[in-house]
Subunit: 314 residues, 4 copies
């Protein structure tokens, strides 16, 4: 697999030059468009990396996976009273649907949905941003992971759009805490800096029926892991979830920092990263890398027989 | 598996009485809400049925799967110039998004998208409705399948909403033929009467890498089968695709006649049917049956290791 | 006043070259952008004209004033069950609002609203298009007025957008007759050819408390004339009603043929015409002419004391 | 006229019991639904009052007239770069249109528009709320007018919806100052307590070509007064501007405190007040009173000859 990863690195770099680095906050716009990295972590703990796989970057919306996992662990299906789990069909930061649907976001992977999840966290923890940082460290086994204060300050300074969403939800009674505190927790999560390797390891629990590789313990139930994968498959790639499912066919989550995490259930987790994004906000090179990977592996979840059921128990 | 199917039949019938039979055309409103059937067809040809599995019903939107398959076979990815493949986030018959996106429907499983696909068919075949009927007969191996003339007449009489969509797309240049001819082809597909067993057999190609059970030949490529499954997973259940993915976790397509077809890739196809629908337009009892089935099988595509993946070392 | 009209003609022609001739149907796109005409008809019957004031042109949406007047004469306020009377805030041919408001158009001066009014007419008259032509002839005193068959055929051929609206309203139960018949009546009205002079004379009843100059008889009540003027003021200029009220300040109705009729209540009616339109669909030169006219007259309805108000002691 | 006013008071009170007192902030919900007052101020300074005409109430959106007047005095048409002047066709606190139109509100009489105008004020004055209070005192000639601190605190506590709008506009670059400062100025204006008599006197400048009765001096130009009246006519009554124009036919502005100010240009200003509102947010009894008044006066601006132009080509 190491040779595959290196080949993917080589071929994915051919797309460098396409797309644009996110500029909605200045701190992100500073990223170098020519970086690319990929890391694979198999369920038995083997790790394969290429390119800038150990370079920390701003995880941005990848943090929504951690946020959702924590909220479902703590509250279970009660969460779905406050946030839906269907694709939005709208840009990730739209207020139109949020207004029409009276402050209930469509799913936890659009900004409004993640802000509701962050509100849960603020209710539950005295220092929510520290809690998130601890979780990221524990799951990745990397104690040096930090919230990037420069990015956090930039998020705060340019918070208007997210503040508008938070206040709109508060107007409908769907935010319990002060908006400023909720945004601080939300931006702190987005501002975590992690590498492809950190993320592939940290999110391996979604490939491994909830079992966390770095701790050797169960983090969530197999059922919950499966459900989060389903949400990633239908809602994880902004409003290009269908395109990505058609091309790549794996549960995945994307961030405007250029990272994409994808899951091959039962087998491995993977993170690819490159800062330049397409019009939908997904990294051009990282998407290409994942398409190459699923071609190599010959697996997409929608066309291969689930393991162990062949000839199964019927 | 036969005993499972019978147990599912028994337990799914406990939900009879919930939901409402579709009434958007009078011919559908006549259906008996107390019917329930289920049929499973495994890739090796075994068939398991229970309840009203051999009772023909109006397949309605299930026909969109046949329409899409035919169009992709004929035109390949060129189809995506005229229709998208992302979740719409809107009701299946909405015009708002269609107007905002200049007559390009979000995906082929909402009405507008299927009408575009039907327009392709009208361009390609002298007698498109006969062609569809032939395909349904061939794939199911049942030469007695018919278009229900009573339902077709009712569809035509109550065509206003679909006509509005078709004319709006024509205004944007996305319908080539006369609207009346396109609607006739579209309604003919919707008006096919097939049983759960017919449908499980006919759609088994999606579980079997494109191989058609009734003909013993390849119908579409494995790659195309996988892509259609992906679209079913993200867009197949109206605007409840996410809910269904979360609960059931299989590629599926629903029709307002009360049928739902679901696919366990590499293993089997299944069709459940019961006329009463929930608010999203999906059969209450059929959804429940499919949830029971995936619990029984212990498989959902988002949490089980693909079969035969080398290196799958767990 | 004749010298004013000639000066306005001269100055309005300075704007020729700005804007674009409507091209939504080919028959309109043929118009010469360099034509300009203006006609004023005072309540005592005096007529003042300049430029191409006697050149017939396609009245298009100006016909909505006749349609509304006929429907209110026949049905009174019952009409408001089927169509609203508030500004739409949307483009004149939008379906989004129509869908959200369940097939009830915002007002009778957007296309959907006028189609509902035309549906009334089809219910009431065996030959609705002949009836409209007769009314236009009677009110203008010009028996040679005709429906332009070339424009009518072009409207029909390019009916998709209007057909979409009509079918959407029919889907909500707000169109009683066959869509084709309703569109034929609607397009016939739009296809009337009248000159500025014809229109100024024909619509003088709105300036004259409902009294028709050409017949010497009351056509509608003073109260109804006033109410139609109010609707023109708030809804007559597509979605630029507020801009026009701010600049010109008179009740007015615009058509994509380039004509605008405006009313100085109690005093006069005026029609200006020039084919090139601004982005909102209103004639550039005709708007400018009306602004010059209100400057000359020193009257806008929002700043001058109504005549003869007792106690008006200034 | 005093006897008219008393008769209107008597008849308008017959509608008490209809509608609902605004409850979007608790401080407004405390109002007594059975209060009704009316005050007329003619251009020669005569004042006629009935009922609770001297009872101060929360002017709420009536303050938008003062805000707009001040901004147009200071900035002229430059204001229209940041706010439109067309009817919105949407509820007064909607974010959907604001998002679609990239943070430029449709007109200065919806909340978002008034917040932009308040932002101007914050830029121009060190103590904007004191400035507004001074203007209200000066124009009404009543030095005891105050900002209601109880209402202001309630507005602030329940600011979420307006904060959402302000942040959304700031995200599009259409708010220069800190959102908190802008909202404080905006809420301070809304929280002014004035009586019907105060308001009729204070807004008489709109009836009198810009001349302020209480100061004896010109406050704005005649042209500006006319333009503001036009905006009131098309946009002053939330999304019922067309209904009100049809029924009453005067430029007017409504507030959720239950007050409505209307203008008979060239003649008089009037304010009616009663707390219970209809579904569009306009006072039931106050609207009825104004309809009775225009019936009595026999004037609506859309059907009566402007003064001094009768017969005439002056």
């Amino acid at each position: 697999m190491q040779s595959w990863v290196e080949e993917i690195d080589r071929r994915a770099r051919e797309t460098l030059g396409q797309g644009r680095v996110a500029d909605y906050i200045p701190a992100l716009a500073e990223q170098d468009a020519n970086r690319f990295g990929i890391a694979i972590c198999t369920n038995d703990g083997a790790r394969y990396t290429a390119g800038d796989a150990q370079e920390p970057f701003s995880i941005q919306s990848l943090s929504k996976v951690f946020l959702l996992t924590l909220a479902l662990r703590a509250h279970g299906d009660a969460l779905w009273q406050r946030v839906g789990l269907n694709p939005s069909g709208m840009p990730f930061n739209s207020l139109t649907q949020l207004e029409a649907e009276r402050g209930k976001p469509r799913n936890p992977f659009i900004n409004a949905g993640a802000i509701v999840v962050a509100d849960h966290l603020v209710s539950a923890f005295a220092t929510p941003s520290k809690h998130i940082q601890d979780i990221a460290r524990t799951l990745s086994g990397n104690a040096s992971i930090l919230i990037d204060r420069h990015v956090l300050a930039s998020e705060w300074q340019h918070r208007s759009r997210n503040a508008a969403m938070a206040y709109l939800m508060k107007a409908f009674g769907n935010i319990d805490n002060e908006v400023d505190a909720v945004l601080d927790a939300y931006f702190s999560c987005c501002s975590l800096r992690m590498s492809c390797l950190d993320l592939a390891v940290a999110m391996n629990y979604l490939a491994a029926d909830g079992h966390a590789l770095a701790t050797g313990k169960s983090f969530i139930t197999p059922d919950l892991a499966r459900r989060i994968n389903s949400i990633m498959f239908t809602c994880g790639m902004y409003d290009a979830a269908g395109d990505f499912a058609y091309r790549v066919g794996l549960p995945a989550k994307s961030g405007v920092g250029g990272g994409i995490v994808a899951i091959v259930p039962g087998r491995l987790s993977v993170c690819a990263w490159s800062p330049a994004l397409d019009a939908a906000g997904n990294s051009v090179a990282a998407q290409h890398a994942l398409e190459l990977l699923t071609d190599k592996l010959g697996v997409r979840i929608a066309n291969t027989a689930p393991a162990g059921v062949e000839g199964g128990s019927r």
